[in-house]
C-alpha cells in the first residue's frame, strides 16, 4: 500500500513524475489510457488559461475578487481523474481545475466569481457541492454525505478539499475524525499551497508534514507531490478503493505552491520569499505533465500553443456570456430563502419591487 510505503511519519513524498516530467519509479506509473491522459492535461491547461484570463478580467475591472489556482492544477486534476461519475466532490474555493474535470461548466465557475449565485447552481448529477468559503466547514458536509452513502449502500466516494490553513481549524478536526470513527468512504485532500493568505505553512503546524494528522485519527495518510498529477492520481485511486471496500477514509496532503496571489485583493510579493517562488515555478505541474505527454507522443509544443489559443478564445467567449447576464434579478434573491417564503419576507420583496427593484 502506498500509505504504508509513504507513511507520513517517514516524511517521504510520493512522486511519479519529477519536475522535468521523467518517471521516477516505473512501478508506480499508472496505466491511464491516452484519452484520459489528454483530458487531464487539457483540463489543467484550460484551468491555467481560464485562471490567467480571470486575473486579467479582474485587472480590467470586469471581474470581482477571484482566487487563482495557478500551480495547483495537478493537485486537483490528478484527484478528479481518479473519481467516478458517481463520486461526490466537495470543494473549498480554490479548486477550479477539479471542478472543470468533474464537469462543471466554466461559465458557472466564472459566474460565481463574477458575483452571481447561479455560479453554484450545478446540475445535481455532477455531484458537486457549492464553493464553501468558511474554511474547513465543508469537511463536515463531506462526512455527512459519505455517511449517507454508507448506510444507504451507495457505491460512491466523497472527496473533500481543504487548504493548509484549514487544517488548523476545529471543523477540520471534527470532520476528519467523524469520517474515521464511522469508517466512511471519504477522502480528505489537503492542498498545501504553503500559504493561508500571507500566513506561511509553518504557522499552521509545527509538525513536519500535515498528513501526520491522520495518525491521531487512526486512518491512513500520505504526503504526495501535489504538482505531479500521476502521483495524485494513484494516491486517490488507492484511497478510493479502500473507501469502496469499506476500509474507511484517507488523508492526502498534496504538497504544492500557490504561484499566484491569494485572491485578486492580495499582493503576495509582500510576504513570499522570492527564491522559494522562483524555485516553485520550476516545479510547475504543467511543465512536467506536458513533457510526460510529449515523451509519450501524445502532445507537442505546437498542440500546446494551439490549445492555449483555443482556451483563451473559449474563456473570452464564456466570460462575455457571463458579462451579458448582468445583474441578478430581484426575485432570485428572495425565491430561494425557503421553499415557501414567509409572508413578512414576501412583503419585503413587494416593497423592494415598489421601490423599482427588478
Amino acid at each position: 500500500m502506498l500509505t504504508t510505503k509513504f507513511d507520513p511519519l517517514k516524511d517521504k513524498m510520493l512522486q511519479v513524475l519529477d519536475p522535468k516530467g521523467k518517471v521516477v519509479d516505473a512501478k508506480l506509473e499508472p496505466k491511464i489510457d491516452d484519452e484520459t491522459l489528454i483530458k487531464m492535461y487539457e483540463t489543467m491547461l484550460l484551468g491555467r488559461t481560464a485562471d490567467t484570463k480571470a486575473l486579467q478580467y479582474q485587472r480590467q475591472g470586469r471581474m470581482l475578487t477571484y482566487a487563482p489556482i495557478k500551480g495547483q492544477e495537478a493537485a486537483q486534476v490528478g484527484v478528479a481523474a481518479a473519481l467516478g461519475k458517481e463520486d461526490w466532490f466537495v470543494p473549498a474555493f480554490r479548486e477550479m481545475a477539479a471542478l472543470l474535470y468533474k464537469g462543471a461548466p466554466l461559465k458557472q465557475l466564472y459566474l460565481y466569481w463574477y458575483g452571481n449565485e447561479e455560479g453554484n447552481h450545478f446540475d445535481p448529477d455532477l455531484k458537486i457541492l457549492p464553493i464553501s468559503v468558511p474554511i474547513a466547514s465543508q469537511i463536515n458536509h463531506a462526512a455527512g454525505i459519505a455517511y449517507a452513502s454508507k448506510i444507504q449502500k451507495k457505491e460512491e466516494v466523497t472527496v473533500a478539499y481543504v487548504g493548509d490553513g484549514g487544517t488548523s481549524h476545529g471543523e477540520f478536526h471534527e470532520g476528519v475524525n467523524f469520517g474515521a470513527v464511522f469508517n466512511l468512504p471519504m477522502i480528505t485532500v489537503i492542498q498545501n499551497n504553503q500559504f493561508a493568505i500571507s500566513t506561511p505553512r509553518s504557522v499552521q503546524s509545527k509538525a513536519k508534514n500535515l498528513a501526520t494528522k491522520a495518525v491521531g485519527y487512526g486512518i491512513p495518510g500520505i504526503v504526495v507531490d501535489g504538482n505531479d498529477p500521476l502521483a495524485m492520481y494513484i494516491a486517490t485511486v488507492e484511497a478510493r478503493e479502500r473507501a469502496l471496500k469499506g476500509d474507511g477514509p484517507t488523508l492526502i496532503e498534496a504538497v504544492t505552491y500557490r504561484l499566484g496571489p491569494h485572491t485578486t485583493s492580495d499582493d503576495p510579493t509582500i510576504y513570499r520569499d522570492e527564491k522559494d517562488f522562483k524555485d516553485a515555478e520550476t516545479k510547475d505541474p504543467l511543465i512536467r505533465f506536458k513533457q510526460y505527454l510529449i515523451d509519450k507522443k501524445l502532445w507537442s509544443d505546437e498542440k500546446d500553443e494551439e490549445k492555449i489559443k483555443e482556451f483563451t478564445d473559449y474563456s473570452n467567449k464564456i466570460f462575455k456570456e457571463v458579462e451579458e447576464t448582468g445583474l441578478v434579478d430581484l426575485d432570485d434573491v428572495f425565491d430561494y430563502q425557503y421553499e415557501t417564503l414567509p409572508p413578512h419576507i414576501e412583503e419585503q420583496r413587494q416593497r423592494a419591487k415598489e421601490r423599482g427593484g427588478k
Partner: protein
C-alpha cells in the same frame, strides 16, 4: 389516544416518523444507546439500529455539519444538541450553511433537517444548561424556529418540522419535559409551522408566550381571576416565522400587548413583536406594547436562579400594569 408528557410525545413522534420513513436518522451525543441524557430518544436505537440512531463523537460542528451532508444525499437527519447552551460549535454550520444552502445553490440543494435542542432554565442545572437563545436562530434568514408548550403541539410541530423541506430548529422546553400529561392522538398529524394558537380569548390585553413560560402565563391569568381583566392568551409556537397575523389581529382587538419570555430582555425576541405591532397596529394601541423578559445578566447558578426566573406573579403584575396604563 394515549396520555403523554412532552418528552413522551417527542419520543413517540420520532418513532412514528422513523417507522414510516427510513431516510430519517437521529444523531447526537448520547442519543443512541442510552437514548439521550433526558431519554428523549430512548429505545429508538434498539428499534432502528445503530446506523439510524447514532452516538456521535463530542463535536457539535460535526453533528450539524454532517447532518447537512446527509440531507444532501438522501437522508433526513434529526440531530440533537444536548443543551442549547452547547450548540455554539455547531452554530457556524447552521448560520453559514444550513440557512443558506438552498439559496446558495439556487435550489439545487435544499436541506430537510431538524435540529432539536432542550432550552431554558428552571431545572436547577449547571452553567450553560439554562439558556434561551431564540434570537440567535430567529434573526437568521433561512432558519425556522419552533417551540411547543404541550404534548399535542410537540407531536404536531415535530411532524411538521420533519416534513419541512428546509432546516427547522426545534426547541424543547426541558422544564416541561415531564411536567404534565395530555391526550395525544395516535395518528400522524401536523401542527402547521408559522401558526400561533389562541389559548384563551379575551378583550383587554393580548399576552403572547411560548414554550416553558406558557404554563406560567396560564397561572398568571388564574391569579388575576378576581380582577376584571379579560386576557387573550396566545401560544406563539413558531418563533420564526411567527404568526404576525394572529397576534396583530388580537392586538387590534384588545389594544394592549404583553410578550413574556425567559430570553434576555435586551435585543430579545419580544422586541421584534413589539416592533411589528407598532408597524401594524399603532393606532389601535391603548398602552405601550410591553415585554417581560429575563434580566440582562448571565443566568445564575441554581442558588441564585430565582432572581432570574419569571414567575406567574411577575406576569400578573405586568398584565395589570399594562391594563392600568
Amino acid at each position: 389516544m394515549a396520555v403523554m408528557t412532552i418528552l413522551g410525545a417527542i419520543n413517540h413522534t420520532l418513532d412514528q416518523q422513523m417507522e414510516k420513513d427510513d431516510s430519517i436518522v437521529l444523531l447526537g451525543e448520547d442519543v443512541g444507546f442510552e437514548g439521550g441524557v433526558f431519554r428523549v430518544t430512548k429505545g429508538l436505537q434498539q428499534k432502528y439500529g445503530k446506523d439510524r440512531s447514532i452516538d456521535t463523537p463530542l463535536a457539535e460542528a460535526a453533528i450539524i455539519g454532517s447532518s447537512i451532508g446527509m440531507a444532501m444525499n438522501g437522508l433526513k437527519p434529526i440531530s440533537e444538541m444536548q443543551f442549547s447552551g452547547f450548540m455554539f460549535d455547531g452554530y457556524n454550520q447552521l448560520v453559514s450553511h444550513a440557512a443558506r444552502m438552498r439559496n446558495r445553490t439556487r435550489g439545487t440543494y435544499n436541506l430537510p433537517m431538524v435540529v432539536r435542542m432542550p432550552y431554558g432554565g428552571g431545572i436547577r442545572a449547571l452553567e450553560h444548561h439554562s439558556e434561551s437563545l431564540e434570537v440567535l436562530f430567529a434573526h437568521i434568514p433561512g432558519l425556522k424556529l419552533v417551540i411547543p408548550s404541550t404534548p399535542y403541539d410537540a407531536k404536531g410541530l415535530l411532524a411538521s418540522a420533519i416534513a419541512d423541506p428546509d432546516p427547522v430548529i426545534f426547541f424543547e422546553p426541558k422544564r416541561l419535559y415531564r411536567a404534565f400529561k395530555q391526550e395525544v392522538p395516535e395518528k400522524d398529524y401536523k401542527v402547521e409551522i408559522g401558526k400561533a394558537r389562541v389559548v384563551q380569548k379575551g378583550d383587554d390585553i393580548t399576552v403572547v408566550a411560548w414554550g416553558a413560560l406558557m404554563p406560567e402565563a396560564i397561572k398568571a391569568i388564574k391569579l388575576l381571576e378576581d380582577q376584571d381583566i379579560s386576557v387573550e392568551l396566545i401560544d406563539l409556537r413558531t418563533i420564526a416565522p411567527w404568526d404576525r397575523k394572529t397576534v396583530v389581529e388580537s392586538v387590534k382587538k384588545t389594544g394592549r400587548f404583553l410578550v413574556v419570555h425567559e430570553a434576555y430582555t435586551s435585543f430579545g425576541p419580544g422586541a421584534e413583536m413589539i416592533s411589528v405591532i407598532n408597524e401594524q397596529a399603532f393606532l389601535y394601541l391603548e398602552a405601550p406594547p410591553t415585554r417581560l423578559g429575563g434580566a440582562d445578566i448571565t443566568i445564575p447558578l441554581p442558588k441564585g436562579e430565582h432572581h432570574f426566573i419569571i414567575t406567574p406573579e411577575q406576569i400578573a403584575d405586568k398584565i395589570k400594569d399594562v391594563v392600568k396604563f
